[in-house]
Symmetry: D4
Subunit: 151 residues, 8 copies
């Protein structure tokens, strides 16, 4: 039986500590993922190949980037898979730049944007989306919601 | 065979013109939806009932609101379905308020946020998510992407 | 004779250090309160029950939250008691998100918003409001104002 | 038996159209008010006299101002009555200036701030506060909330 | 012969470290000043007396405040002396609040605003203004400008 | 006997309608002025000559500019006369750009900044400054303040 | 002898009116250009081909886009030619989104950003850059500067 | 044969650590530069002389400044050489001030703006521009791009 699989990609190695919360949450949900560092600006060919191959490898993509955070949108340009975008905080402009660069996508090419540094929520949103296809995730999400309510 | 079904909800009748672009796009994709006006602040009971019943009626929710736009987050609090949030522009603060109120969700309860007044993209994102469960949507999305490229 | 009683609620344990200033000020005014941690997004049922029961237990509510700070507005949706909202500062967006999420309430459901991290003022505003019903608080507020002037 | 009475004050005649919604709502609640135009910056003596006399005339004050909106805070400096502040939108800075000038009060002197141009909510908040002293207002507020839910 | 005299006033003791640069610069120019801590919101009577007495004691006023920084404007309301305003930085809103509260004065009552935490420039501007009346200051300012150019 | 004289300068002909309020107010105060259009960026030589000649012609300068509003600061760089800066509103960025470009001057070279489009206040501030040297202006300012209070 | 040639590209037909000022200015300088509409998000393949072919066809690229304005950065990712970026104003967020998306490029891949809607300056900057290779443009730029000074 | 030469200038010694990344990158490209500290506001004559002499000494200018960052624009006013502007971050306003002051140049006088503290990109952009005149730089840029892709 098919298993859910997520591609996580970020623009810079410096984004990895933020992404750790997404990884932990995906593991808790039992969702497989792999993690790639590639930049829409510095390694565009790699990003394009990643995005074009995504349909065969992943159910959806989580993409994180800071500053002029083009990565999530560029991946969304090349695939019809859902793309979840995580704006990464940086000191100049306090994260306004990454947030606006990711959320303000033009008509036709959405990115599902979560909070600044909101890596955990990227994983939860991913599980919510995947639960449409993998019903066992719906139960895990209900338990997760229950767990939050009891915590 | 099951058919995709979306619940669209907005906080005020004044949001309906913005949502018309979501409706048109969903129709183009052949995705059924119904449309509800209810406010997290003025009709909270109705919103709660809507959210709790959502799991049985819908595959996902699109929620639009302006100003202190709590509606998408409140619905996300009551369901594990994916919730797509559309911040509605208003003159004071130029939409910053609705955007921040929708996207900056706390850990555990994400809202998949699209651009300010980004109703068309809410529909496209919905189709991308539903395509995981309804494979015929993947083809329509590929055609849609192809159509954009040729336009 | 009836005594004033306030319900303080915040969205996260991490908000408690900010609220300590509200607690200290309420104690100085001799106003009873209890303190609850509950989240409009993670524990919505608890928040709803809290808000619905508030009328019988409290004279007014002080609600603090950060980021997409829906808590004060959601409580205001369920009660006609005055709700005082405290936006909590967080590094991304420097508190703009919590402020806008709390103050920009739609017509019909106000939240009396104080400054970012303005917990002491939430307590003073509470005392000012309660003084309408409990006249001895008016004298304490005059002394408090006098004390500020002399400090 | 005492009746509720509110003082509404604004910094400029140009603010009056915004305040009309507060007036209409207070009339609907059956709350008496009078309306004064005075400026913390242009007519400070008048504002000070207004604020000092407020305790004998009013139960609370609603103060509206735009730009460097000092009026609500200056009144709050001179009275222990609750002061509700309405930031007035102006084109430069889109209302950020009035909002920040009203809400960011220093410790000890709160202003209960509502949304930009949120005059209706100032009236609702006033009624919520006055209901502590005038119980018949609690019923009208419940009806008002009920009416919103049914609208 | 008359000597220049400046009144420096700030809203809180916590503003004093910022003002030290103004004091040092005034001393370098040989301009006398005295320093007062008083708050437009907490000690309004003291501020009013200060402002009304200013005409007989000072040539101009330097006023510093943070957050909803009403102090400079309130002093300007009570005197026709030039008032120089210094917005004080605070973490929430990164100083936007103090800047907007001081600079966005309504028609008729200006405050000569300098940069956030710009205490040195408040002193230089004061010297430039006073040089109209005390010509020896013009020479010191020319030397000061020369010194900057050579530094 | 010497008479007060002000130089008004703006960066573009499109700024002239905003400056009309400064002109009207200066005329009301009986203060002579001349008006120059020159740009720190397009006609820097003219601006430099203007600034260097200012000391012999004017008591102070009023400078207005929009966008990257360097004009007030560049004039301040070349003269020790007080320079009053008026940020001009433009649609992109709602005037934030001009305000920040004028008010955030580095240590040593202040610009006395007034509100966005605050031309009337530039004239009032000019009169307040000139009153130090021309005492008859102090009386006119007192009348002006009195007139505002009575209006 | 080689002639300068510029590629102008924008993300949407709605950007063309803004670009007209760039076209007029290039014509005035006698610089050839062609104009392409293509979107980094909707027609990424076309943009990539455009960028990869640019080196053989153009001396530099002018790229304009609004909202999450990825176009200039994506082109810069694929070519070592200088890329000049023009942020296009849109009502939501007043152009902050396009500006931040274009200017905040990560280390290694710059975009030479001009003002919001600054199409004329994009053309002037292009001429300044091309003058390094085509010396006759230096003379035209001197005349242009002279013309501005005389206008 | 001519060699590329860049003038780097910044407004304050405190900007030098940021500029170190530009220096390192220029060295890597083998581009000669010299480094000057001069302020548009404190040493305007020096800046003017620098800008007027630039045409004979440099191929282009890199100018960095913080706060009301007039330096890049003032240099651009005096030369037709390309001017690359680097906004320097400072705590008040998080760099918005420097960014807006540099990028929002009026029609006719562009500054090629890079990211806040984006010194490395200023050097890369400089190399891209100079490659039009010095073809060997094109090869180094291709290697540089290749190196980024492989890193």
């Amino acid at each position: 039986m098919a298993k859910p699989k997520i591609g996580i990609i970020c623009g810079s190695k410096s984004d990895l500590p933020v992404l750790a919360k997404a990884e932990a949450q995906l593991k808790e949900f039992g969702i497989a993922y792999d993690l790639t560092v590639a930049s829409a600006h510095r390694t565009p060919k790699q990003v394009e190949q990643y995005a074009k191959a995504a349909e065969k490898k992943y159910d959806l993509i989580i993409a994180a980037a800071g500053m002029a955070a083009a990565l999530p949108g560029v991946i969304a340009a090349h695939t019809h898979l859902p793309v979840i975008g995580i704006p990464i905080h940086s000191p100049g402009l306090s994260g306004h730049d990454a947030l606006f660069s990711i959320v303000q996508m033009p008509p036709g090419v959405p990115v599902a944007t979560v909070a600044i540094d909101g890596a955990k929520n990227a994983a939860v949103l991913a599980a919510q989306i995947l639960a449409l296809k993998y019903p066992e995730l719906a139960d895990r999400l209900k338990n997760f919601k229950q767990g939050m309510a009891e915590a």
